[in-house]
Symmetry: C2
Subunit: 301 residues, 2 copies
């Protein structure tokens, strides 16, 4: 998995930072997560091909997470896109996008498929042979979901030296990768374990923004490879978290600790702080493996 | 009048150019004209105070002219704005803005006053003691208006030396500026023409984007101080103008010539051209006083 942060700052606009948007590459499939204003320009900046994005997941309908979606959808049409685009987001997202396309007389060109979310329970919303995507119900001022991306177990890894030693024909390689025992050119049955090794353990990524501190998400995100959890404020502004239903860096770290995740990525920083280092320092007091998101930063896991 | 170009490129997004938005300063009143995606960031970049913008004029509901409006409106609220904001634009603009505020549960804070436009004739849509604003019906793929900003005739200029020579009291200065004759301390009537001079001739600015070549606008923009006219394409792509209802640089220049304007500012450049100089070269073959808009450029007239 490769995660590219297009924007990770909270709503107040600045000349040099961007609202929430990120691209997750799961074995070559690109998923766009949230789409704040200016996302299409950020995609251009980081040379991510528009045509590779087939699925957009929108956490909630606050502007800093979705005002860039209509621009992206319009641009896709302008550039002659033909592939369908799937949009997952809270109920209402379809109406507002279609209304804007209607007013601009900008329908058509490619299929736009909306998957409107209303459930308050975690649910499977996308699945193919490589990955499953589940919602993570969050607690914010409006209906909000995080998203959990779980790779599926890959194929077993062929031990090419062993395969050659056992005189196995090439036409059997596929079966070996699928875990089957095979018969070699001398008619001997060769156990799969002798000629292949376990696949990479599947990775998982949980995106949790925006939300107040809520332990209800812990069973869903348990032991993920990477957790992106919002930390809009520091503890010194914990009272603002209460009011706005956001989290502090310490709270994000507490969730990471309790969910026993492999690493925590902090983001959705309020622009009131001169530097974002302070978020890492605060979180590290609770949980050790803390990384800071930043616009343009890439994470591989 | 001072015009600041925040963005002047057509819809295709790029990392380093912006869609249409500009700020016109008329004697200290700021008017925002169009509001493409990213306008709030451009305003920040060029240090234009959000609170000074009280009127937004939207030409049409294509994304590159209005997808930044909802972000700006939301940000105003977030920053605690209290002053009313007037929005002038095609019918439908109110519905789409209010729907987004409703979905984000982001109503209130300050008054949002919509002036929806439907007329196909030029009409007066705003007036105060300094300026009048008229629509300029344009011809594009959707209902579109340009906007004509006409300064009102200012006060007469006091000739301070003459005033002192004629022994006129300070309490009469205001009357002199208003064009009245006054009586001096010796009881002599002094003719206004002796103690004041004509005010600066009022300036005018016409914004015409997006539109195909249409001579119907000429009587409305006749002899303006500055005409901003779109020139999406060059003559070599005139066939694309027909299809998309845009203008070439030559067509913009022809309008400028026929309307006898003082100067022409070209903008809304298609991003297909390596440089924008070619627009000026083409236009200058028809009309001499041609300027090129560019993001961040200022024009005073």
């Amino acid at each position: 998995m490769k995660l590219t942060i297009l924007g990770c700052y909270s709503a107040t606009p600045r000349a040099f930072t961007n609202p929430t948007a990120q691209v997750l590459d799961v074995k070559g499939n690109l998923f766009l997560i949230d789409c704040g204003e200016g996302t299409q320009v950020q995609l251009r900046k980081f040379k991510i091909k528009f045509s590779r994005i087939k699925h957009v997941f929108v956490s909630h309908l606050h502007g800093d997470h979705f005002f860039g979606l209509i621009g992206l959808i319009s641009t896709f049409r302008l550039l002659g896109r033909e592939a369908a685009l799937h949009v997952y987001g809270p109920k209402g997202i379809k109406e507002v996008i279609l209304l804007q396309l209607k007013l601009g007389n900008s329908y058509g060109g490619y299929e736009l498929i909306f998957h409107e979310l209303v459930s308050k329970e975690s649910e499977l919303i996308f699945e193919d042979d490589k990955v499953s995507v589940y919602t993570i119900p969050l607690v914010h001022r409006v209906y909000t979901n995080g998203f959990l991306f779980k790779e599926k177990l890959g194929e077993r890894k062929l031990d090419i030296n062993a395969v050659l030693n056992y005189n196995i024909e090439q036409c059997d390689y596929r079966n070996i990768k699928l875990g089957k025992d095979v018969v070699n050119i001398k008619g001997v049955l060769i156990k799969n374990a002798l000629i292949s090794s376990d696949p990479e353990p599947p990775k998982s990524y949980a995106f949790c923004s925006d939300t107040k501190y809520t332990e209800t998400i812990i069973p869903i995100i348990k032991e993920v490879t990477a957790l992106y959890h919002e930390s809009t404020f520091l503890e010194e502004h914990a009272h603002l978290c209460k009011k706005t239903k956001h989290s502090t860096a310490k709270e994000a770290a507490t969730i990471a600790l309790k969910a026993n995740v492999d690493k925590l990525i902090l983001g959705h920083f309020s622009t009131r702080y001169g530097t974002i280092k302070c978020f890492k320092e605060e979180a590290k007091e609770v949980f050790n493996k803390v990384l800071l998101a930043d616009d343009g930063k890439e994470f591989e896991f």
